[in-house]
Amino acid sequence: MSLINQTSHSKGSFKSSSRRAETARVYAHPIPIIFPEPTYKFLGLSLTRPLNPHCTAVFDPLTRSAWISNSGDATLLWQRGFFGKGDLSRSEPSWLARQINARQMKGKGFTSEEITAKRRAERKQFKLDRAKAMAAAAAEAETAFNEQGRVIAPGIAPDGTRIIPSAATWKPTSASVLSEQSPLDVAPGEEEDIEPIKDLEHLQLSLQEAFFLVWALDCLTILHPETNMSFTLAEIWNTFQNAHIPSSVPQLNAPSPPRFDNPFLVSYIAYHHYRSLGWVVKSGIKFCVDYLLYKRGPVFQHAEFAIVVIPVYEDPEDQANSPFTLQNAEPFTWSWLSTINRVNSQVQKTLILSYITIPAESRVSPTILSSPACFAHYSVREVVLRRFIPARMRD
């Protein structure tokens, strides 16, 4: 079942398993291309044609992204491979559904964003309650010490039970749930309900995602933001690279010598590499990394790996002459590595340092940059990073 239509937390195992089956059905296709079951098959040959959708996006140079305003296209790209992000949502473009939900159900059902908001409110309440209980226990211990000179263990009742709530024992009171009700439920009046809600949201594709869909999967057309003419592949190739040329106003098709260390190319190499291995690749900015890898997709399980893209110049000269300052091209300090690793082990992700070598211009002629053929000269190497804790490895 799509997150949009999710009504409530499931109660029974039957319900959750049927929901899982529904999720598996909705998100059955890992990429937008569909292969129908062949009706006729002979000696390993079949005539069935793959169904490749044709979506349309508009390039937006300012945000360095491609916008898909057609909600059908947006849903398709989200459900088949989890491409893009709703500009008014956390991931799935669910703004319209949330609005309709809020009007029609008036708090009877929750969208996933509302469920998250509720959970966060409860958590906050729990922390407040816990702090209150701890303060009370400390005050009690203080009184006992002052009056009787006794040192008692704070937070433990005479019968040995703990007074301070833990995450496992704490239950939300009805008051805390009510107070959290989203303001959307209160607002709408009669007239507003009649007026249909206009979908203001668009799906926003990063340039990497857009190029993967255009070039590798051939299921997206990108339009020029001003002329509304469709770009050719070669134009997209140049435009996306130029989007990263440092200048106050990014110009389309501005001539500049192509470089192997163009930030678009480097991050696209990493994106393409993991996509081609079947991972669902999403941005990892919330975890101090470049990408997160999901096994089947964010609706199925948490991301397993956090990818830090580290460009490696084959020739240090190229780095010195470069107009770009690539992130992570300079060596890491140990404190920064520890920071990233701490953040990611906290959320159960394994940190992967993904080294992308940038071909030396002295080895590979930059003329090859006129087409994606240059990809064959880059290379990707992963290094898995984990803390090593000798005290726990003794066996």
Partner: protein
């Protein structure tokens, strides 16, 4: 260091405490809770369990209770530190620090430490008739000696060239711990960081030895046998030839990658029409550690790089024989976290080059893991190899590679374990942070 605390003294001050007060903690983090120590007769100090920070400081400098608890903990700490640190004369060892060879000559070896520390070396020795003769004797490396001195298990005198008349004539006091640190750190490549790592691991029970023998008499593991055996390597060679052949064959058959239109789904072949095949055809970027990264410099790793393997490490459970050490469980690089950066790809490649490949975690993979990447062509096209096998499998009936009969390890576990492992200990003024860098192999475990 505070000399007053250093000096062993008897009769620790006793505090009378209610035993019921001691149940208040049990957490993992926080400082040492010294109140957990036994109160009276602390002849042998025990490292206490960690306590719990159970209050926030009250505004205005702490309440009466807080001050009381703090004072109690502080008093307990001093009591623990005041305790006599004694060693039985029956288990004390004796040695002579010889600065010119950076070794401690152990004259009396007692206790369990010498089952995993020390090695025998032949040195010219003055024997009874007054002549010099090569004689084997037990010697300790600087870190081993310092560790034993610090523990109080070894009394070590400094060798003075003028006086070589033997143990009976040794007079005077042994080196203090401070003197030993001053004398020994810096000898035989031993930095303070390396000693700290050594001592920490030894205290946990690991056996730690040098990777590069500091002298020829130092025992090291026998060199690893390359490959898995003759028949396997033969098969490996055979299959690499095959894969080369199939690669070129399929290149010819399908034409090389069309760079403006990489997506090619054959109109006719049903096998092509699946998501995994589409993704396979998109794997066009060279990947994997089997080929060393290019560099425009002749030596991409500066000779001054601190990333050199220094210690071999054996788990306490490993059956360690001092004279014929087995292959190490881990190998460790020790660096100063303030002066060194995280290793570059080239430094890591150089480290991985000398390391053995570890099999993926259980359930174990089949005999030859898909490491048949001796040729770059095989790396670039795992696709074609498998296609080839798929189509022509009936042609190779006696393939010694049961592809699907054995259980495969869980892909996540295999991905996280990596293929080659190096432990890097980043030491920042005494705080040691261990990291494990493993060679990742995402290309071998596609999810589709």
């Amino acid at each position: 260091m505070d000399d007053a605390l250093e000096r062993p003294r008897h009769q620790p001050a006793t505090t009378t405490l209610d035993p019921a007060e001691e149940e208040s903690s049990g957490g993992e983090d926080g400082g040492l809770d010294w109140t957990k120590l036994p109160k009276i007769g602390t002849a042998r100090p025990v490292i206490p369990k960690r306590g719990e920070k159970d209050f926030e400081p009250a505004p205005g400098g702490g309440s009466g209770l807080q001050v009381h608890v703090l004072d109690r903990a502080r008093a307990a700490m001093f009591d623990a530190l005041k305790a006599d640190r004694a060693i039985s004369s029956k288990s004390a060892s004796y040695g002579i620090w010889c600065p010119h060879i950076s070794r401690v000559h152990v004259t009396v070896a007692r206790g369990i430490h010498f089952s995993v520390m020390g090695h025998s070396a032949a040195r010219p020795t003055l024997i009874d008739d007054g002549s010099m003769k090569l004689q084997k004797r037990l010697e300790l490396l600087p870190e081993e000696a310092l560790y034993l001195i610090e523990r109080g298990a070894l009394f070590c005198w400094k060798d003075i060239q003028a006086d070589l008349t033997g143990l009976d004539d040794v007079e005077g006091a042994p080196m203090s711990v401070q003197q030993a640190f001053a004398e020994i750190i810096g000898k035989e490549d031993l930095t303070l960081e390396k000693y700290q790592v050594f001592a920490y691991l030894r205290r946990l029970g690991y056996v730690v030895t040098r990777t590069d023998p500091p002298s020829p008499s130092y025992p090291v593991p026998s060199p690893r046998i390359g490959g898995d055996g003759a028949s396997l390597s033969f098969y490996r060679r055979l299959s690499s030839i095959f894969s080369l052949f199939t690669t070129s064959f399929l290149r010819f058959w399908r034409g090389s990658v069309h760079w403006w239109r990489p997506l090619r789904i054959s109109r006719w072949i049903h096998h092509d029409k699946s998501h995994s095949n589409v993704l396979k055809s998109l794997r066009v970027i060279p990947t994997g550690h089997s080929v060393a990264p290019h560099s425009s410099r002749a030596t991409p790793v500066a000779p001054s790089s601190p990333y050199k393997i220094f210690y071999n490490m054996y788990k306490p459970s490993t059956n360690f024989r001092k004279t014929t050490p087995p292959q190490p469980d881990f190998q460790i690089v020790v660096i100063n976290a303030r002066t060194a950066f995280v290793p570059s790809l080239y430094e890591l490649t150089e480290l991985f080059n000398v390391l053995p490949e570890t099999p993926p975690p259980l359930p174990r993979k089949r005999g030859t893991p898909p490491v048949v990447q001796s040729s770059p062509a095989a790396v670039a096209s795992p696709v074609s190899t498998s296609t080839f096998r798929h189509i022509f499998s009936w042609l190779l009936p006696s393939t010694p590679q049961p592809i699907s009969s054995q259980p495969r390890p869980h892909p996540f576990a295999a991905l996280k374990a990596g293929k080659k492992n190096i432990v890097i200990a980043a030491v920042d003024s005494g705080n040691i942070s261990f990291f494990r860098f493993s060679q990742g192999a995402f290309e071998e475990w596609p999810t589709l």
